[in-house]
């Protein structure tokens, strides 16, 4: 029977301990979880019963619940929900062939949480603020192009749009730098995506040492106080979903 793969884990001290842990956590659709071992790592699997049913949102939530429960006891690498392998032997082969990558990633995320931070703004108000900051530059542009022909107007419009784009990018980059500076003492690993939509200007994920959880939350709180025009959505702590870099063999 096909196997649903949940996570690559660094096991507890012995096989008995991890099996005891897994026996208390139901898998997707109430399947039994078990671990397959290779050297000092293991993969947590269950029978892939979802193959016989439509995939429902609740299954993805059950899957996440398993990872959340495991992460409270073990260092782990979450596996994406759609991961099925044909047999236990294939799952063990996955461990053996990617052992070094899995070990390196496990070492990287050990004793760490992930936090997510989304920064949103009111696009109309935000862009007005950016425009005010670049007004003087526009005056220079207006002075350069004195003709009022259709071509000149078109050119002027395009130059202004370009300047606005650049000013917007600069503003977001500056915001990112400011936040990174504020959390430097916590020293998290991080990744940012910028300008995802007109309203979502920054989407960051942070790998934070468990001992620095409250310092990180405090830093976000302080940053928020200094930017009342922005809206912050902080989530976590999560298992380290966004910090897995494992090219599969």
């Amino acid at each position: 029977m096909e196997k649903l793969i949940y996570a690559i884990v660094q096991p507890l001290t012995d096989v008995y301990a991890i099996n005891l842990l897994l026996s208390g956590i139901p898998g997707v659709s109430e399947t039994n979880l078990y671990a397959l071992f290779y050297n000092d790592i293991a993969v947590v699997v269950s029978d892939g019963v979802i193959l016989n049913e439509f995939v429902k949102k609740e299954m993805a939530i059950d899957f996440a619940r398993v990872i959340e429960s495991l992460s409270q006891q073990l260092t782990l690498l979450p596996v994406r929900f759609d991961s099925l392998l044909p047999s236990d032997a294939e799952a063990t082969r996955l461990l053996s062939q990617n052992y070094t990558a899995f070990r390196n990633n496990l070492d990287n995320v050990k004793n760490k949480f992930e936090f997510g931070l989304k920064v949103l703004w009111d696009y109309e108000k935000g862009i007005e603020k950016v425009k005010i900051n670049m007004e003087s530059a526009n005056e220079n542009t207006n002075n350069c192009i004195t003709s009022s022909s259709i071509h000149a107007n078109y050119l002027l419009k395009k130059i202004k749009e370009n300047k606005l784009d650049n000013a917007l990018r600069d503003y977001i980059e500056q915001l990112k730098k400011e936040f990174v500076h504020d959390i430097a003492i916590i020293n998290p690993e991080y990744n940012f995506n910028k300008m995802i939509t007109a309203n979502l200007i920054l989407d960051g994920v942070f790998l934070v040492d468990k001992s620095k959880k409250y310092e990180f939350i405090q830093a976000v709180g302080n940053f928020k106080k200094n930017h009342t025009e922005l809206h912050f959505l902080l989530t976590g702590p999560w298992p380290p979903y966004s910090f897995v870099v494992c090219p599969m063999v």
Binding site: E2, I5, I8, I50, L51, F54, V55, K56, K57, A60, I61, F63, A64, I67, L77, P78, V79, R80, F81, D82, S83, L84, L85, P86, L94, G116, Y214, I217, Q218, V220, G221, K224, F232, L233, L234, T235, G236, W238, Y241, S242, V244, C246, M248
Partner: protein, 73 residues
């Protein structure tokens, strides 16, 4: 004073964030899935894509044939 209350705990947003992580992040194992109907292989997709399409179809209240899914060789 610790400001843990700044963590967003609204149900919808947390669920969205959770699903984004479970479906799009983590170790990616390319388990190739073939969707077939009446022994004819139709589409070569991952479960993630099927999850989306099933929900979309349910929203549109379309009738659909339940496919068989197999792991390909």
């Amino acid at each position: 004073m610790i400001q843990e209350n700044i963590i967003d705990k609204s149900k919808d947003f947390t669920l969205l964030e959770l699903l984004d992580r479970v479906l799009n992040k983590g170790v990616v194992i390319s388990g190739d899935i073939v969707i077939s109907i009446a022994d004819v292989d139709l589409v070569y997709v991952g479960l993630k894509i099927l999850l989306t399409s099933v929900e979309t179809m349910q929203q549109r209240q379309l009738m659909m044939v339940k496919p068989n899914r197999n792991i390909s060789n």
